[in-house]
C-alpha cells in the first residue's frame, strides 16, 4: 500500500495527461482532470511525508526485480519534502494559468497546456523519487521535453530564438548525462544509486573524483550554476508568467536535488568540497550582480534565481549536517518564493503592460495595494529579511558555514550576506520604480490581452507567498524535519540498506 503511494506522484500525472488528451473536446473536462490529478498528488505527497518521517524510507521495486537490477523508487524525508512543496507549486501555478487562460480566451477554448503540464509534473516527481541514475535521466527528459513544448507554445520570433538556446543547451546536457551514465556503468556495472555508492568506494579515487566532477558539470547546466547559467536568463523570461514560474520554481531545483542526492549517496564526500564551494561563491555573486544590471523585471528575477542556486550549492558543498539542513530548507523556501515572485510580477506586467523598468508607469501600489503587499512580502522573503522563511534558511546556512572546518565556509557565509543585500537592492529598485509614484493608467499591449486580473490569479499568488510566510510560522517543525532529512541523506549506509535490503 505504501509502495503505491510512492508510485502515484509520477504515475498519476502521466495517466492524467493521456486522459486529458482524450477528453480535450469536452467542456471543462481538461480542467477537472488536471485539478483532480494534481490535488491527488498533493495529498499523496503529504501522506508520504508523514509516513516517511515516522517510519523511515519507503522503497518500491518496480516489477519485483531485486535491486540493483530493475527500477527502484525511493522516498525518504528529502524526497518527500521536495515532493510536497513542488506539488503545492504545481497546483497553484495551474490555478493561475487557468485564471489567465479563462480571462484571455474564455471558458470554451481547449488547450495543449494541460497534458504537457501534467507530463512536466510527472517528470519532476519522478526525479525526486528515482533510485537509479538512468531513471533520473528519463525523469529529466520527461520534464525537459515537456518544458521545450511549453516554452515554444504560441510561437513568436522572440520565443523561437529563446527556445533554440534553451533546447540546444538542454539537449547537450542530456547527451553528456548519457555519456556519464556510460562511464559510470563501465566503471562499476550498475546504475542503482545505493549499489553505486558501495561499488564506487573500491574504484580509484582519481576516477571517482572525475566522475563526480562530470556529474556536477552535467547537472550544473540544468541547475544553472555559473558559468553554466548563460541560457537561463535568455530563455525563461520569454515564456508566459505561469510557465516561467513553474520552470523557475521547479526545474532548477530538481537539478539541485539531483546534485544533493547523487553527491551524497554515490560519491559520499566526507569533508567540504572546495570545487563546489567556489562554484557556489561565483554563482551567488555573479548572479546577484547580473540582476542589478537588468532592465526587464523577468530577466532580473532570472538572474536572482541563478544567484540563489549558489546558496543551495553552498550548503551542499560543506557536506556537513548543518550545511545540508540549510540547503534543504533553502531549496524548499526558494521553490515557493521564486515561483510566487514570478507570478506576482506577471500580474504587475499585465496591469501595467510592461516588463521593462524603463516603461513601467509606476504607481502600482496605489492602484493595486494587494499586489504591492504580495510583492513586498515575497521580495523581503527572497532577500531573507526576518521573520520570513528566507531568513530561517539563510541563518541555518550561515551557521553551517561558520561552524565548518574550512575557512572557505566563513568566506561563503560573508558572500551570502553580501548577495542577500544585493538581492534586496535589485528588488527594492523594482519596488521604487514600479510600485511607488503616482503612475498613469496602464496601457496594456495587444498581446498581453486586456490587462484584466482575475481574482483566481491574485489568489494563486497570495497562496504561494502565504506558503513562504507559513514556512516561517512553522519554522520549528520544518527545520526539525529538514534536520532529520539531512541526517538521513548523509547517513549513506542507512540509505543503502533501505534500498538494497538486508545487508548494510
Amino acid at each position: 500500500m505504501t509502495g503505491l503511494l510512492v508510485a502515484l506522484p509520477a504515475l498519476l500525472p502521466l495517466l492524467a495527461a493521456g486522459l486529458s488528451l482524450l477528453v480535450s473536446r469536452i467542456r471543462h473536462a481538461q480542467r477537472v482532470v488536471s485539478g483532480v490529478a494534481l490535488s491527488a498528488v498533493l495529498v499523496d505527497a503529504a501522506i508520504l511525508l508523514w509516513i516517511v518521517d515516522s517510519h523511515g524510507a519507503v522503497v518500491l521495486r518496480l516489477g519485483g526485480y531485486p535491486p540493483p537490477a530493475g527500477i527502484t523508487l525511493v522516498a525518504d524525508r528529502l524526497s518527500a519534502l521536495m515532493l510536497l512543496v513542488s506539488a503545492v507549486v504545481t497546483v497553484v501555478v495551474m490555478l493561475y494559468a487557468l485564471g489567465q487562460r479563462v480571462t484571455d480566451h474564455g471558458r470554451t477554448a481547449t488547450t495543449s497546456f494541460h497534458p504537457v503540464y501534467l507530463v512536466l509534473t510527472a517528470g519532476v516527481m519522478l526525479a525526486y523519487l528515482t533510485g537509479d541514475l538512468f531513471t533520473l535521466f528519463v525523469a529529466f527528459e520527461l520534464m525537459l521535453t515537456a518544458s521545450y513544448v511549453l516554452i515554444t507554445r504560441g510561437v513568436t520570433a522572440d520565443r523561437v530564438r529563446a527556445a533554440m538556446t534553451y533546447v540546444i543547451t538542454g539537449l547537450t546536457s542530456t547527451l553528456l548525462l548519457i555519456t556519464l551514465i556510460a562511464l559510470v556503468y563501465a566503471a562499476t556495472g550498475t546504475v542503482n544509486l545505493a549499489d553505486l555508492g558501495a561499488k564506487l568506494s573500491d574504484v580509484d579515487p582519481a576516477l571517482r573524483g572525475a566522475l563526480s566532477l562530470l556529474f556536477v558539470t552535467v547537472i550544473g547546466i540544468k541547475a544553472a550554476v555559473v558559468p553554466l547559467h548563460f541560457w537561463l536568463p535568455d530563455s525563461y523570461p520569454t515564456a508566459p508568467a505561469p510557465i516561467t514560474a513553474v520552470f523557475a520554481g521547479l526545474l532548477t531545483k530538481v537539478g539541485v536535488y539531483a546534485l544533493i542526492r547523487v553527491q551524497t549517496a554515490v560519491f559520499a564526500h566526507q569533508d567540504a568540497w572546495h570545487v563546489l564551494l567556489v562554484a557556489a561563491l561565483i554563482t551567488m555573486l555573479l548572479g546577484a550582480l547580473g540582476a542589478v544590471a537588468q532592465d526587464d523585471v523577468n530577466r532580473m528575477l532570472s538572474f536572482l534565481l541563478v544567484s540563489h542556486i549558489g546558496f543551495m550549492l553552498f550548503g551542499l558543498g560543506l557536506f556537513s549536517e548543518a550545511g545540508l539542513t540549510g540547503a534543504i530548507l533553502y531549496a524548499l523556501h526558494h521553490i515557493t518564493v521564486q515561483a510566487g515572485l514570478f507570478l506576482v510580477l506577471g500580474l504587475v506586467a499585465r496591469h501595467t503592460g510592461a516588463t521593462s523598468l524603463r516603461r513601467m508607469p509606476g504607481g502600482v501600489a496605489r492602484q493595486r495595494p494587494l499586489l504591492a503587499v504580495l510583492f513586498a512580502t515575497g521580495a523581503a522573503n527572497l532577500a531573507g529579511l526576518p521573520p520570513l522563511s528566507g531568513f530561517l534558511a539563510k541563518v541555518t546556512l550561515l551557521r553551517g558555514g561558520a561552524v565548518s572546518d574550512t575557512e572557505l565556509g566563513v568566506v561563503l557565509a560573508g558572500a551570502a550576506v553580501v548577495t542577500s543585500f544585493v538581492t534586496l537592492y535589485a528588488l527594492a529598485r523594482v519596488w521604487v520604480i514600479a510600485f511607488w509614484g503616482t503612475g498613469r493608467e496602464g496601457s496594456a499591449d495587444a498581446d498581453r490581452s486586456s490587462g484584466e486580473l482575475a481574482p483566481v490569479m491574485t489568489t494563486a499568488c497570495a497562496v504561494l507567498i502565504g506558503v513562504g510566510v507559513a514556512m516561517a510560522a512553522f519554522a520549528g517543525p520544518l527545520s526539525a524535519v529538514a534536520d532529520r532529512a539531512a541526517t538521513h541523506v548523509l547517513d549513506v549506509t542507512s540509505y543503502r540498506s533501505a534500498v538494497l535490503g538486508g545487508e548494510p
Binding site: A69, E141, T179, A186, R429, I433
Partner: protein, 134 residues
C-alpha cells in the same frame, strides 16, 4: 573489462565531430551535431556493457550472454533523442520561417544592455530609468 580499441577510436571521432558541429551558428549543423553526439552516446553505452556475446534470453547461460542492461538503456535513449530531434527540426523550420534564417542568434536584451551606456548619456541610476514619467 577488455577494451575494444576500434570502438574507442570511433567514439572519439564521433564525439569530436559532434561537438564541433554543436559549436556552429547554423541551427541545421547544431542539429546534426546533436544527432551525432546522440549516436556517440548510445554507442558508448554499448561499449560500456563489455564485449559482445550471445543474446541474453531466458534459458541461456548468463556467462556467455552480452550484458542486456546497457542495450535496454540505449534503446530508451534512442527513443528520447529521436523525439527531441524531431522537435528541434520543427523548431528549426519555424525559425527559418519567422526569422528568415536558421542561425542561432544572440539574445536581443543582452545586446541592448551592453550598448546601453553608450547610447544614453544619462547615468544608469534608479531615477533616470523612469523615462516615461511626465
Amino acid at each position: 573489462m577488455p577494451i575494444n580499441i576500434t570502438l574507442v577510436v570511433v567514439l572519439a571521432v564521433i564525439y569530436a565531430a559532434g561537438f564541433y558541429l554543436l559549436m556552429q551558428r547554423s541551427l541545421m549543423r547544431v542539429l546534426l551535431g546533436i544527432v551525432l553526439v546522440g549516436h556517440g552516446a548510445n554507442l558508448f553505452l554499448q561499449a560500456a556493457g563489455g564485449p559482445a556475446g550471445e543474446p541474453a534470453k531466458v534459458g541461456k547461460a548468463l556467462g556467455a550472454a552480452s550484458d542486456p542492461l546497457p542495450q535496454a538503456m540505449a534503446l530508451t535513449a534512442i527513443v528520447i533523442t529521436f523525439a527531441v530531434t524531431v522537435l528541434l527540426l520543427a523548431l528549426a523550420y519555424r525559425s527559418s520561417v519567422l526569422l528568415k534564417d536558421d542561425e542561432v542568434q544572440d539574445d536581443v536584451e543582452d545586446r541592448r544592455l551592453r550598448r546601453a551606456p553608450e547610447t544614453e548619456d544619462e547615468p544608469a541610476s534608479v531615477i533616470s530609468l523612469r523615462e516615461g514619467e511626465p
